[in-house]
Symmetry: C2
Subunit: 132 residues, 2 copies
DNA sequence: GGGAAAGTTGACGTTTACGTCAACGTGATG
DNA sequence: CATCACGTTGACGTAAACGTCAACTTTCCC
C-alpha cells in the first residue's frame, strides 16, 4: 500500500482546482486530509474521492448529492443498518443515473437530427462543412 | 398549424415550474411569449424550448449554455454566417454530450460494481436485499 | 538571515437561479 | 359591487459554490 501524501498545491495542479475549492470541500466534509501541523496532507483516498466529486459535478449533481454517494465507496466501515441504507440510496442513484443516460442518449439523437437539418441548409447556400 | 396559446398558470401546471421561473427565463431571453395586454401568452415554440431547457438543466448545463444551444433549434431564420457559427457550436455541444454520456456509462459501471460489493457484504451479515 | 514561496484562517464578495413579498391591474362571479 | 383568482412589475432575499483579500506562519533557498 503506497501511502504517499500530497500538498494542497500538488492537488491543485493534478486536478485543476483551486486551493479554495479543496478547503471548501473539506469544510463540507467531502474530503478529510490529514494534518502536518496546520498543513493539509491529502491521501490516496482523498484523490479517489475528488475524482468522484468532479465527475459527479459534470453530471449535474449537487455537492450534497455527491457527499451521500461517496459514502458508498467507503462501504465496510459502517454498521449493518447504515450499510443497508447506503445500499438503498446507491440503488436509487444508479437508477437516476441510468435514466439520465437514457435521456441524454435521446437528446443526442435529437441534436444529431438538427445537425443534419442544418447541414442541408448550409449546403443549399453552397457552404461546405467538415466531414464527420 | 395549431396556434394555441397557454397562460402562465397553465405552463406552470404542465411543466412543474413556478411563474417566477418562467418570467426569469423570459428575462434571460430563453423564452419569448406573446402579450395580450400585459399578460403573457406562451406558444408551441415556447413549450418546445422549455422542454429543452429543463432537459439541459438535468444534464448539468447552465442557462447560458442552454440559451446558445436553443438557437440551433431555430435554424432557418438566421444569416448564412450566423447559421454556420451555430452549426459549429452545435457540433461542439454534441461532442460534449457524447463525452458526458460515455463518462456516465463508465460511472454507472463503477457504481454497479460497488453495489455488487455492498450486496456481498450485506449477505455476509445475513441481510437480504430485493432482487434486481 | 532575509526574502520568496507555499500554506493557514477568517471574512466578505460574487454569480447563478431562482424565492418571496408588496403593491397593483383586470376579469369573472355570486 | 365586492371579492376572488389570476396576472403584472419591481425590489429585495437566499442557497450553493466558490473567488478574493487581508493578515499571519513556515519553510526553502541563496
Amino acid at each position: 500500500m503506497t501511502d504517499r501524501h500530497w500538498s494542497i498545491g500538488e492537488m491543485c495542479r493534478d486536478f485543476g482546482v483551486t486551493a479554495r475549492t479543496l478547503r471548501f470541500y473539506e469544510a463540507k466534509e467531502l474530503l478529510s486530509p490529514l494534518r502536518e501541523g496546520s498543513r493539509r496532507l491529502f491521501t490516496r483516498r482523498d484523490r479517489a474521492r475528488l475524482t468522484l466529486i468532479l465527475q459527479g459535478k459534470r453530471f449535474g449533481f449537487s455537492l450534497e448529492d455527491i457527499r451521500q454517494l461517496l459514502d458508498l465507496y467507503d462501504i465496510g466501515d459502517q454498521g449493518a443498518t447504515q450499510l443497508a441504507r447506503t445500499y438503498d440510496l446507491a440503488r436509487q442513484r444508479l437508477a437516476a443515473m441510468e435514466a439520465q443516460r437514457d435521456e441524454l442518449t435521446r437528446a443526442i439523437t435529437d441534436l444529431r437530427e438538427q445537425l443534419a437539418l442544418g447541414e442541408r441548409m448550409l449546403a443549399e447556400r453552397g457552404i461546405r462543412v467538415a466531414a464527420e
